[in-house]
Symmetry: C2
Subunit: 390 residues, 2 copies
């Protein structure tokens, strides 16, 4: 009886799979058992692609010093490349080039979009990279929330992280506003930036205070990340967005803070607010924090774009030095600058630090290798967050 039920279930299970859309069938039944990427115990990694008709298969990724490596074909038409050295702990991205045509790894469903480019991803654990993993720790809630901006004339989407326990603790929490760079959106920090995992892990380790993190969309002309707005799926993402770095996002920021203070159990007031951003988001954080000097006690500039605004006439960009004088006279608890040695914005940041030094405005400075890349922004986030609200 038991066996016959088991057989019936097995048959039913097979029957279940058959009517699934043709595409799925193909992957399920026609698909190979290829493992790619395979992370070996010593942290070398093998990439594989079944492509029997291909003439040349390459892998391109941020772990390759030359940027690209050739795969070699075996008798079954499976191409393979193994890294000659173990990879250091990090989140890496890659894609295949098949006879020059970029394609994602069909054996790895994990992909992240960076502006218009979708790449496969994997993590080599250990050291700081363990912060980027989902670990068995209490998890915060990540919500996609819409707020109305009267000044921008739009309903707009936010990502809001509330720490584990928020829903039932009855407590109030400090708020950290975390801003993306050009081409990014309200999804960038939680996807490319692993902000959810970094916060979960740092809080669980007792290294960061439980806090709310608000990830805005800094493109003032847009409602939301591509695909989640009324522009629909016809609109593909682009760098060439209107209304960035021309003052309107910065000017509207109190609308965001007001919304968050109304909708969440926040500790309101400057003492309990932080703002930081990468690249364009660093530019935004710099201008917002000096434009509204009573709003943020902690400021982080990650590879910040220290540039003139697009619309130099915006009141937001007027009188930089006068506004900085007001901001620093109010003694912010932390003004933090992080940049990589080869960042194309290094020189602009150096000039800005000279200005701060000349005025005697205190700041913390963190300099490391490499340039304008997400690896650095994850590092800066994990350095900045433990310094907040202590």
């Amino acid at each position: 009886m038991k066996n016959s039920i088991k057989s019936l279930v097995a048959i039913c299970m097979m029957a279940w799979l058959m009517p699934v859309a043709a595409l799925a069938q193909q992957a399920l039944w026609g698909g190979s058992k290829i493992v790619s990427p395979e992370i070996h115990d010593d942290n070398t990694v093998t990439f594989r692609l079944q492509a029997p008709k291909a003439v040349k298969v390459q892998v391109t990724g941020d772990f390759l010093s030359e940027g690209v490596a050739d795969l070699v074909e075996n008798k079954e038409g499976v191409w393979e490349y193994k890294t000659p050295q173990p990879l250091a702990p990090e989140l890496y991205s890659y894609t295949f080039l098949v006879d020059g045509l970029k394609m994602n790894d069909p054996n790895n469903v994990y992909m992240i979009r960076d502006v218009v480019t979708v790449t496969n991803v994997f993590i080599i654990g250990g050291e700081r990279a363990d912060l980027y993993k989902v670990n068995k720790v209490p998890h915060g809630t990540v919500a996609k929330v819409w707020y109305d901006s009267p000044s921008l004339g739009l309903s707009r989407r936010l990502t809001v992280y509330t720490p584990a326990g928020y829903e039932t603790s009855g407590k109030r929490y400090p708020v950290f506003y975390l801003l993306h760079g050009m081409g990014g959106d309200e999804n960038a920090w939680s996807e490319l930036g692993r902000a959810t995992q970094i916060l979960d892990n740092l809080i669980a380790q007792g290294k960061a205070e439980p806090m709310i993190v608000v990830m805005t969309n800094g493109n003032a002309a847009l409602e939301a990340t591509p695909g989640e707005s009324s522009l629909g799926w016809e609109a593909q993402p682009t760098f060439q967005l209107p209304k960035t770095m021309e003052g309107s996002f910065e000017a509207h920021f109190p609308e965001v803070v007001k919304f968050i203070d109304k909708h969440y159990r926040t500790k309101a007031g400057k003492k309990f607010r932080a703002i930081a951003g990468l690249s364009m988001g660093g530019f935004h954080s710099m201008h917002i924090s000096k434009q509204y000097p009573d709003m943020f006690n902690y400021v982080g500039l990650f590879s910040a774009a220290i540039l003139p605004g697009r619309d130099a006439k915006s009141p937001v960009y007027e009188d930089l030095e006068g506004k900085l004088a007001v901001q620093f006279a109010k003694r912010p608890a932390l003004y933090w600058i992080g940049i990589g040695k080869t960042d194309f914005l290094y020189k602009a940041n150096e000039e800005y630090r000279k200005l701060l030094d000349a005025k005697g405005y205190p700041y913390e400075y963190f300099e490391n290798e490499d340039g304008h890349i997400w690896r650095n922004w994850r590092i800066y986030l994990s350095e900045f967050v433990p310094r907040l609200f202590k």
Copy 2:
């Protein structure tokens, strides 16, 4: 002065893009201006792929009656296929086959994963398909939330939709529990099922009551959707999961309800609770609703798997008829069954309806074309939701 600032900004903008990872540069600067898919005014659609070295390029998708169509190459190495007929309003998926190798459309960043298969997607608007679009209506909040399940011994992830206005209304809301099928997870209904958009739009049109929607993960051995659990990115999704349809998910369901009633402003009590699911989720909904006959007033079986459970000894699957008698004696407000004419589960559902008929248990029945596909589940969701909590 203004012009020189503009030039400086332009130069800075270009400089910004250059240090971005090599992959992004390639797409930004080396990439073509190809539009794919292009939805024409008459709802025909053109697909394009630049692949000058390819011998054969095909598109495979759920809008093709033959399942696959050949693209034709032009002089610039761009392959093209235009649908001979306009497509009916619907959410469609597709992928390219380049010399037999499946690849996603590099000019369309919108993709959805269905178990192990990632496909590109697009929407032809109009009629019911407008419910699947993000429209300019008030938007609910979608949150990824973790709850502890003592009986399963796991912290587990949920998707929770709260309707627009929830945060500040002070009101209590009814709750609809919405369950996925085999191979799915807590992301399936909000991604493949467009549940967020369907709810936003039906509520905005006054056709559905504002409600909380809770989308669970029905794989009792798992914490979360692939990639969001402590299994990490090494674990690729699979159909072959342990602890599905063997009673433990169904048995633990009161833990979910208790969590939701504690963490959200719910209208607690049977009168204000609904449960529905597709395929395996229909199986779960059937068993949960009869196992806990005082819990749900509205029940929806969408292409439900009317099958024996894997573990026939689970108390959940014992005495089906006796438990149905108790459930229907308590007169649920709605017992709704939807299935497509060519569904491989049609006959099993027919048998089940005969049982209900023989006992005189009332239910609503919705039958339409096609089979065991997401197109039908979106339709069933949009039919079911307006019937709730009225």
